[in-house]
């Protein structure tokens, strides 16, 4: 019993020392600066932080949408072949059932999600091909189609986060202790 303890103690000390050395002098992670990462860092937060410069309006977005988006999402975002190419306009109340189709207007908590996802993943077959101004314009167009902004509103890094999404306060967390 005591023999085992005597043997075990130095082994543990060695493992601990090795772990500390690894963290301090490992050299396995190559140091970068945030400017090295700038092109990759496309994460937009709900308060609008990390949005790029640029802007767009609904009318500009309508033109881009007709050219690059309507083949899948339908004319004026009314939807393509359901459920794969969802409508971007409208939406039923969530009280209709647990299988209500989730849309931007009836579901999204933050408008920043529209910009972020469009910029990172759309158009489906040519991701990251849109300019930031084009993404702002498309975001403005989709928000205007849903009457969440006016037809003459400008969407940019400041105004996007100010759009109040209807379902924002409807979310609850089942496991808050896991955060």
């Amino acid at each position: 019993m005591s023999m085992r303890r005597i043997v075990a103690a130095p082994v543990l000390a060695f493992v601990f020392a090795a772990g500390t050395a690894l963290a301090q002098d490992s050299g396995l992670g190559k140091p970068l600066t945030e400017s090295d990462i700038k092109q990759w860092d496309i994460t937009v937060l709900p308060d609008g932080s990390n949005l790029p410069s640029g802007s767009g309006m609904p009318a500009q977005g309508a033109k881009i949408f007709a050219e690059k988006c309507s083949a899948c999402h339908g004319e004026a975002g009314k939807g393509g072949v359901a459920p794969y190419f969802p409508a971007l306009v409208g939406g039923q109340p969530l009280t209709n059932g647990i299988d209500t189709v989730k849309t931007i207007a009836n579901y999204y908590a933050y408008a920043t999600t529209i910009f972020d996802y469009t910029r990172r993943a759309m158009p489906y077959n040519m991701p990251r091909s849109l300019t930031d101004d084009e993404v702002y314009s498309l975001t403005a167009y989709i928000l205007a189609l849903n009457k969440l902004i006016g037809d003459n509103d400008v969407i940019d890094a400041k105004t996007l986060a100010q759009v109040k999404m209807p379902n924002r306060d409807n979310f609850i967390m089942p496991y808050p202790d896991r955060l």
């Binding site: 963290a23 490992s26 190559k30 970068l32 496309i42 989730k102 579901y107 991701p127 896991r178 955060l179």
Partner: protein
């Protein structure tokens, strides 16, 4: 100690519950007695074989040339994943695991379920980079080569899509296989670097609460993950069942968050940004949050809760004749280890405790087995899992009362009326041995 005794030439069975469920201790007793009794009950040891045994042709010639990478026998050609998008249309693709054609607990790599929202990227491992930045002292870049130099750790873990079993939200039970109902969960041995090691090396800000993990796929799929989980048991996995990850499972590296929604286990992970609040990415905003009865919605659900289903027998595997069978299936929990699985053959009127095949591991598949003598009468087979955190798989009535049912008819197992279904599955055996999916 054998639970089976011969008396007047026939076995006497120790029944654990109604409709022929046999005490699991029969599996621990004399194997010879069990096998003998099984054969006797099935009525196959009466008289001599119709023809004398002869040597088979494959025994009388030299076999085939050994391949460099072996694949299953040609006789196993039907053991395949079920594809939702075989022609690669511009939409999400799903491949479901054929649980009714597999045994044990390890999902073979070729049959591990896979979902890709923008196709499978063809990544050159020498060029792939993983960046950790944001609220850290020093942003860092890692490669497959540099990650491979850390002391790697290995563990079993199931990965389950939050939409697995979604057809079970239908008001009427869909007549389809366990593969189509529950094929979006698989279990593998994963090897990689603890994410905590990499975060510590970068020097994480103690006020950081979240990280955003992003993949190198065509959607740059990203999810917000609590830092708490990252320090609990998260890995950057680079091996799957001993070989580098399958392309559909994240080659060359993925985030592994044992017990959390499959979608959060970001594949092809290229960037982890440490932040102080969630990003509300597309997938956590829309697909992977749930509408509740009454219209409230759950977000940041994360946890795949305790669950089990019977794989043998199940829909499509009819029983040929009355006699002894092993009811077998899979149980798992995102909170810990399986502690017990109860099985019923009479639609939940009575339950017997199944044998668990060890080792029983944290957040991993455990296979359960229940010996059963089918007397040729109708039976309804169910399983119900319990975990070591005190969680119990809900009965269907309990589950539906809390989570509801789809308001519209569900006509295909490929749709997702809602998510996070973990209630029980019921297979009804009729007197002809055919098996249907029922709610009971």
């Amino acid at each position: 100690m054998s639970q089976w005794r011969r008396r007047y030439g026939a076995p006497v069975l120790d029944f654990a519950a109604g409709n022929g469920l046999i005490n699991r201790r029969a599996l621990l007793g004399s194997g010879v007695t069990f096998v003998g009794s099984l054969a006797a009950a099935a009525g196959t040891v009466t008289g001599a074989a119709a023809e004398p045994l002869a040597d088979a042709p494959w025994s009388l010639a030299v076999g085939e040339i050994m391949p460099a990478v072996q694949t299953p026998s040609a006789f196993e050609k039907d053991v395949t994943r079920a594809l939702s998008n075989p022609n690669g249309e511009f939409r999400t693709s799903h491949a479901r695991t054929p649980h009714h054609r597999l045994g044990g607990t390890v999902t073979p790599n070729g049959l591990h379920f896979s979902i890709n929202h923008g196709g499978i990227p063809n990544i050159d491992p020498a060029e792939h980079k993983l960046v950790i930045h944001g609220m850290v002292r020093q942003p860092l870049e890692f490669t497959l080569e540099s990650l491979s130099r850390y002391p790697l750790v290995t563990r079993m873990a199931f990965v389950e899509c939050a939409g697995n079993s979604a057809p079970m939200f239908a008001k009427e039970p869909l007549q389809t296989t366990v593969q189509m109902l529950h094929g979006l969960v698989s279990n593998a041995e994963w090897t990689g670097v603890p994410l905590s090691t990499l975060l510590d090396e970068a020097g994480i800000d103690p006020t950081a609460k979240w990280l955003v993990a992003e993949g190198a796929d065509a959607q740059f799929l990203d999810r917000s993950v609590p830092v708490k989980k990252a320090y609990d048991d998260a890995l950057i996995a680079i091996y799957q069942n001993g070989e580098h990850l399958m392309p559909g499972n994240g080659y060359p590296m993925r985030l592994l968050l044992p017990g959390y929604q499959g979608n959060m286990n970001v594949k092809y992970v290229r960037r982890i940004k440490v932040i102080d609040r969630p990003a509300y990415s597309y997938f956590e905003t829309k697909n992977y949050s749930q509408i509740l009865p009454g219209g409230k919605t759950w977000r940041f659900h994360f946890l795949m809760e305790v669950k089990s289903f019977i794989t043998h027998p199940s829909y499509g595997l009819s029983l040929k004749q009355p006699g002894l069978y092993a009811i077998s299936g899979l149980a798992y929990s995102g909170t810990g280890r399986i502690s017990k699985v109860m099985v019923s053959a009479d639609g939940g009127k009575s339950w017997g405790e199944a044998a668990l095949q060890g080792p029983i591991q944290d957040k991993a598949f455990t296979r359960f087995v229940m010996p059963w003598r089918w007397d040729g009468q109708p039976a309804i087979l169910q399983s119900r899992a319990y975990d070591d955190g005190g969680n119990v798989q809900p009965l269907r009535a309990e589950f539906v009362a809390m989570r509801g049912e789809a308001s519209r008819p569900v006509t295909t197992p490929l749709g997702f009326p809602n998510q996070h279904y973990n209630s029980i599955t019921s297979w009804a055996v009729d007197s002809a041995g055919e098996i249907k999916h029922v709610y009971a």
